[in-house]
């Protein structure tokens, strides 16, 4: 039993009030939402932006000469500019809009890797990855005969860095690595890793699904080749995502899907592809969702990512130290540098039973394998309970979590 840390002084009540969904009761108790790593909630400004677009501005983009099409195109492309600025990409042509992190990674696997690799080539990932940063690479390995290499992690859930550097060999075609582990919350030292990989000429893709919502991300500073993330983890709508790609690489890649909007001229003999980023955006996109994502970025910029990261850091430490006060808790993922999520086990209570008991008290957490089965296997467990925070959470939420865990112990007496 260790002592709970003092509460962080700033309580962003105003931020919380911006999220209408949080003002409700579940099972007669005020909702405590601790599942933002699965999907974050949306502020009213995002919900309103989407609704306003649907009511007033909807038409297809990049097509019509009429007023609505202009409005829709301006709003959609305006969101792309906001994204570019948010991640500090050098050029808007480097911001490819996708349906989410999963599609972004598949795009790189199929369009960047598949045409150029074969047996003798390696794709390097880590043991920490989400299934979305494993399976697309397995597919491309099956298709080409390339080999998937997995960098090991230690008992705290962090990369074994000494061994890792020796895996950066000349036959590695690409390194794909998460910025922040969705299952354990480990922050990987991606800047150092990119620097070392690039010294050896290895392109790097960063799965930033859990990074972008919680800390400032500057893709030029990271110097990565690809950075993938999702709108719905950063307080925007589902079905939106981004692939940042270095222009020189995107330029050389063939289209990922064919269809409308990704072409300049089509005949049955040949097709001239559109310029970047449209070459990778076949078909009518999720216009409303992307506009919502733009509104989410406005919201985040208004608070400031530094401020969000600082607040979450304190709240996170409060949560971890509070969890440690619960008898019978076992924290899974104890890396030195972590963000947002904490996985844990309580006594021998199965995570689904715990999830039910917490839900019964109005508390939403994630239970199970978190789409990271190899991580669970690494720790010899089938799943965990995972509490994940965002800036709209408070110390009160953490206190409710702890109280509910004590109740669970009582039920399982």
């Amino acid at each position: 039993m260790s002592q709970a840390q003092p509460r962080p002084s700033a309580t962003p009540a105003g931020w919380r009030n911006d999220f209408p969904i949080l003002r409700q009761s579940i099972n007669s108790q005020p909702l405590v939402y601790l599942d933002s790593a699965a999907s974050a909630q949306q502020p009213a400004s995002v919900i309103d932006a989407v609704a306003r677009y649907q009511r007033e501005d909807h038409a297809n983009v990049h097509r019509g000469v009429h007023t609505l099409s202009h409005r829709a195109t301006d709003a959609y492309e305006g969101a792309r500019d906001k994204i570019r600025e948010f991640i500090n990409a050098a050029n808007r042509s480097e911001v490819v809009l996708t349906s989410g992190t999963t599609e972004s990674i598949n795009l790189v696997a199929q369009s960047f890797c598949r045409p150029r690799i074969g047996s003798g080539d390696k794709i390097l990932i880590t043991h920490l990855e989400h299934h979305a940063n494993i399976v697309p690479w397995q597919l491309v390995c099956e298709q080409t005969g390339a080999e998937l290499v997995v960098a090991p992690i230690d008992d705290a859930g962090q990369l074994e860095l000494d061994g890792f550097w020796s895996l950066l060999t000349n036959d590695v075609f690409i390194l794909a690595i998460g910025h922040v582990s969705n299952a354990l919350g480990t922050i990987n030292p991606v800047k150092d890793i990119v620097a070392k990989a690039r010294q050896r000429g290895i392109p790097v893709l960063i799965d930033g699904a859990q990074g972008v919502p919680h800390m400032p991300v500057d893709v030029q500073d990271l110097d990565c080749d690809f950075y993938a993330f999702s709108g719905h983890k950063m307080f925007g709508p589902t079905g939106t995502g981004v692939l940042y790609g270095r222009e020189a690489l995107l330029d050389e890649m063939p289209p990922y899907q064919g269809g409308g909007d990704m072409i300049l001229e089509v005949s049955f003999e040949s097709t001239i592809y559109n310029e970047l980023p449209y070459k990778f955006e076949a078909g009518t996109p999720n216009i409303a969702g992307v506009i919502g994502l733009g509104a989410a970025i406005d919201y985040l910029q208004n608070i400031g990512m530094q401020r969000i990261a600082a607040y979450e850091h304190d709240l996170y430490n409060y949560m971890v130290s509070s969890l440690k006060t619960v008898d019978g808790i076992r924290l899974i993922g104890t890396a030195a540098n972590k963000a947002s999520v904490q996985s844990f086990l309580l006594d021998d209570i199965h995570s689904h039973d715990l999830g039910t008991i917490l839900d019964h008290q109005g508390i939403a957490i994630r239970t199970g394998h978190h789409c990271a089965m190899p991580v669970m296997t690494r720790f010899g467990i089938s799943g965990t309970s995972r509490a994940s925070i965002a800036f709209y959470n408070t110390t009160d939420d953490v206190d409710r979590l702890i109280k509910a865990l004590l109740k669970a112990k009582q039920v399982f007496g």
Binding site: H350, H352, D353, T356, H360, G383
Partner: protein, 164 residues
């Protein structure tokens, strides 16, 4: 919940003493070497995985049962109750119990009991311990997982049973 306030008792109704007892000390847990029928039950949503073993004699009577695997308290307790209950039943009767129990759990038949007319009252009393899941729709699949595996084993289905 139909908008009603949840009763604290719901939780204790779900995790009754009998359920917790079977979850902590599952009966017939382990592999049955001489099994004539076996099948896996997988809940892809949560990763619960059970293997059901049965020994069926020439008269189509279930002589022995066991199970192994991992899962939540509800799925383990349900499997434990099942292995206890079907020993000595004919295959046909076990199938009838499968239908009755899964109907009871998925269709909320408790108010119209008895759904059983097959002289299994003693066992049936114990299955009632699972009734609590009907207030927790997301957990019904946990309670039925072992039963689907039983059905799969008895009907010689080659692929694992899932609750989907």
């Amino acid at each position: 919940m139909t908008g009603q306030a949840a009763k604290t008792d719901d939780l204790y109704d779900l995790y009754r003493e009998l359920i917790l007892d079977h979850a902590r000390s599952p009966r017939h847990f382990g592999r049955l070497q001489e099994a004539t029928h076996t099948a896996q039950g997988i809940n892809p949503l949560c990763g619960d995985k059970l293997t059901m073993y049965l020994t069926v004699d020439a008269n189509r009577v279930i002589q022995a049962t066991s199970f192994e695997g991992s899962g939540c308290a509800i799925s383990i307790a349900s499997a434990s109750l099942l292995t206890d209950a079907v020993i000595g039943l004919t295959v046909d009767k076990a199938e009838a119990v499968f239908s009755a129990v899964t109907d009871r759990l998925t269709q909320g038949r408790a108010d119209n009991e008895p759904a059983f007319d097959i002289n299994l009252e003693a066992h049936f009393e114990k299955f009632k311990a699972l009734d609590g899941v009907r207030e927790f729709p997301s957990r019904v699949k946990c309670a039925t997982l072992a039963w689907h595996a039983l059905h799969s084993a008895l009907s010689h289905e080659a692929t694992p049973a899932t609750t989907e």
